[in-house]
């Protein structure tokens, strides 16, 4: 590498492990990094609605109600009954880093 110099042992290992051999490039697959996740199903984030997800899949269709709420709350504007995160429930989603994994942690909020 020209712009980065490995300093500790882990960095040296990363450099070693990611040195791609010049041949069979076509067979190599870089790992898919974790992406910020927007839940499925809102027309404003270009998704065909509730029948299929934006990749055309139908696997995630029967959604828990919490996820519907969260989706409307974050993916688009929708007058859903979600807690007011600006004033009353600023930490409503603080324990939900990735919706597909943590949606069970989003609790109900009572006024």
């Amino acid at each position: 590498m020209k712009h980065l110099t490995p300093i500790n042992q882990k960095a040296a290992r990363i450099e070693r492990e990611t040195t791609a051999p010049d041949d069979v490039v076509g067979l190599q697959r870089t790992p898919v990094p974790q992406q910020p996740h927007f839940p499925l199903g809102c027309s404003l984030v270009f998704s065909p609605g509730w029948e299929a997800d934006r990749t055309g899949g139908t696997a995630g269709l029967c959604q828990p109600v919490e996820r519907d709420l969260f989706d409307c709350h974050i993916g688009c504007y929708w007058p859903a009954h979600v807690p007011d995160q600006l004033n009353h429930a600023p930490s409503w989603t603080s324990s939900c880093a990735a919706a597909q994994k943590d949606w069970r942690k989003i609790d109900l909020v009572f006024p």
Binding site: M1, K2, H3, L4, T5, P6, I7, N8, Q9, K10, A11, R13, I14, E15, T18, V32, P33, Q35, P36, H37, L40, D53, R54, T55, G57, A59, G60, S94, S95, C96, A97, Q100, K101, D102, K105
Partner: protein
């Protein structure tokens, strides 16, 4: 056009050049100017290659931008924000698999609580004070470990150390030396049994030094027992909390005994372990007294573990002050290390070793992994601080480790479960912090220690800068951390 985004990282400067510490890999890279500028630009938000090239056109060519980005992506300092197919959770469990050690994990350190009694009444003590976990007053737990239980514990340790050639046995208390007779016999027994099995046992203990006397010192030196002394500093600091039952200070009792120990016991370096409280933060003065006036080889500091509302609890301002004092002492450490001289501030050295290896922890410490505590009745616990607590028991030395309980603990305490830590760049080294601290502060071992996040990040940054300085100006110093054999985990 896909966007590039910076992943979790921490930029720091040392020896006049920029470095980056990456999370979660814990790799340290030095950056050249283009890499530093691109990463800086991405810190404000995602951007496309073209946007970056536009922003930086007066500083580098488009080719340089592309080449630098590909290197940054290669080490996962940045990644593309391309829409990717949503990963469906695996059929069972519902989350991506965590890396949990195998059930048959070898034990490297066993901490034996040979007594839960103490001849001091340190006000802040987690074993006796207001925050204690284990009730020792009702007599359910024996006050002293019996010879029989200690022997069973040794057998347990040798068995559970599996293929490891060396097992570490640390004696702990209460005040460890109150049960010196059992300690002495246990060392004899462990040496004999280990020899029969072709293994070695490394011994160490922690003591308040009040009961040291010539025969004991002779024994510890002869048997090469590693000794850590709990002491808080010069007289007025030590006597503030480390008092006898009648309230009188312990400094004048321990000071001559420690000098005697240091004069006679030369087979292992002897360290002091200081508890910092809201009452005393004069780190430099405590260090100078213990390192230079008394002569300890090294001195380690730890903030007191206590509920937030206690008088001796360290407040947010207190953590800031502690960081400032630590930085001051760390500068001195750096100056001496650049000349290959020993300093003795053990907090820095331990962190440097972890940075050097690029340790990325799924768990904050070895408790429940390679380290287990044993209570006076032979119950096996998460660590010595939980020894005797029924809620944190993983079997007994007689019946062996309760593997299911231990696996359940590890499963639920994995860094993946600590949502608050997911965006912190210091998580490879901190992993949420001490289970016991969390238990005392928040009532649950699985809670991340959010009260000292700023302190952890500040201190990690300091150690990273020292590491960077050393890597540039005296790289030979860091060679000592290459392939360093695993040492017994320091317990306090």
């Amino acid at each position: 056009m896909s966007m590039w985004a910076a992943r979790d990282h921490h930029r720091f400067e040392a020896a006049g050049r920029p470095f980056v510490y990456l999370a979660p890999s814990a790799a340290v890279f030095a950056l050249d100017d283009p890499a530093d500028r691109i990463l800086a630009s991405l810190r404000h938000g995602p951007a496309t290659t073209q946007e970056l090239a536009g922003r930086l056109s007066d500083q580098m060519t488009g080719d340089a931008v592309e080449q630098t980005l590909s290197e940054l992506a290669r080490v996962q300092a940045v990644s593309k924000l391309a829409p990717v197919p949503i990963e469906l959770p695996p059929a069972a469990g519902g989350t991506r698999p965590k890396v949990i050690p195998l059930a048959q994990f070898p034990l490297s350190t066993m901490v034996l609580n040979v007594t839960n009694q103490c001849n001091l009444s340190c006000t802040y003590c987690y074993e006796y004070g207001e925050d204690k976990i284990v009730d020792t007053q009702n007599g359910r737990k024996p006050k002293f470990m019996s010879e029989e239980t200690a022997r069973q514990s040794v057998e347990f340790m040798l068995r559970e150390s599996r293929s490891n050639p060396v097992a570490h046995l640390t004696f702990f208390g209460g005040e460890t030396l109150l049960n010196f007779p059992v300690l002495r016999k246990t060392i004899d027994y462990a040496r004999r049994r280990a020899a029969e099995l072709g293994k070695q046992v490394d011994f160490s203990l922690t003591t308040n030094a009040t009961l040291l006397k010539p025969e004991i010192i002779e024994f510890l030196a002869e048997e090469q027992v590693g000794v850590t002394i709990s002491i808080d500093g010069p007289r007025e600091v030590q006597d503030k909390f480390r008092v006898f039952h009648n309230g009188s200070g312990s400094y004048d009792v321990v000071e001559p005994k420690i000098r005697e120990l240091l004069a006679r016991h030369r087979s292992r370096p002897i360290g002091a372990r200081v508890t910092l409280t809201s009452a005393g933060m004069d780190v430099r003065r405590i260090f100078n007294h213990l390192r230079h006036e008394i002569g300890f080889w090294e001195v380690g500091f730890a903030p007191v573990t206590t509920a937030a509302n206690r008088e001796h609890a360290i407040s947010n301002d207190g953590y800031d002050l502690m960081l400032e004092k630590f930085r001051d002492l760390a500068d001195e450490f750096l100056a001496l290390s650049l000349e290959n001289r020993h300093h003795g501030f053990s907090n820095v050295k331990e962190t440097l070793a972890e940075i050097h290896r690029g340790m990325s922890k799924a768990f904050p410490c070895g408790a429940g992994l390679g380290l287990l505590g044993v209570a006076t009745d032979g119950d096996v616990a998460l660590c010595h601080r939980f020894a005797g607590s029924d809620a944190h028991r993983f079997g007994t030395v007689h019946d062996g480790i309760d593997t299911a309980a231990r696996q359940a603990f590890l499963e639920s305490h994995h860094i993946d479960n600590k949502t608050d830590c997911h965006t912190c760049w210091a998580r490879p080294l901190c992993a949420g912090g001490c289970y016991h601290e969390a238990h005392v502060r928040y009532g649950e071992t699985s809670h991340p220690n959010l009260h000292y996040c700023e302190w952890i990040r500040g201190w990690t940054d300091t150690c990273l800068r020292i590491y960077g300085e050393l890597s540039e100006r005296n790289p030979a110093y860091l060679r000592q951390f290459d392939d360093q054999p695993a040492e017994a985990e320091r317990v306090s």
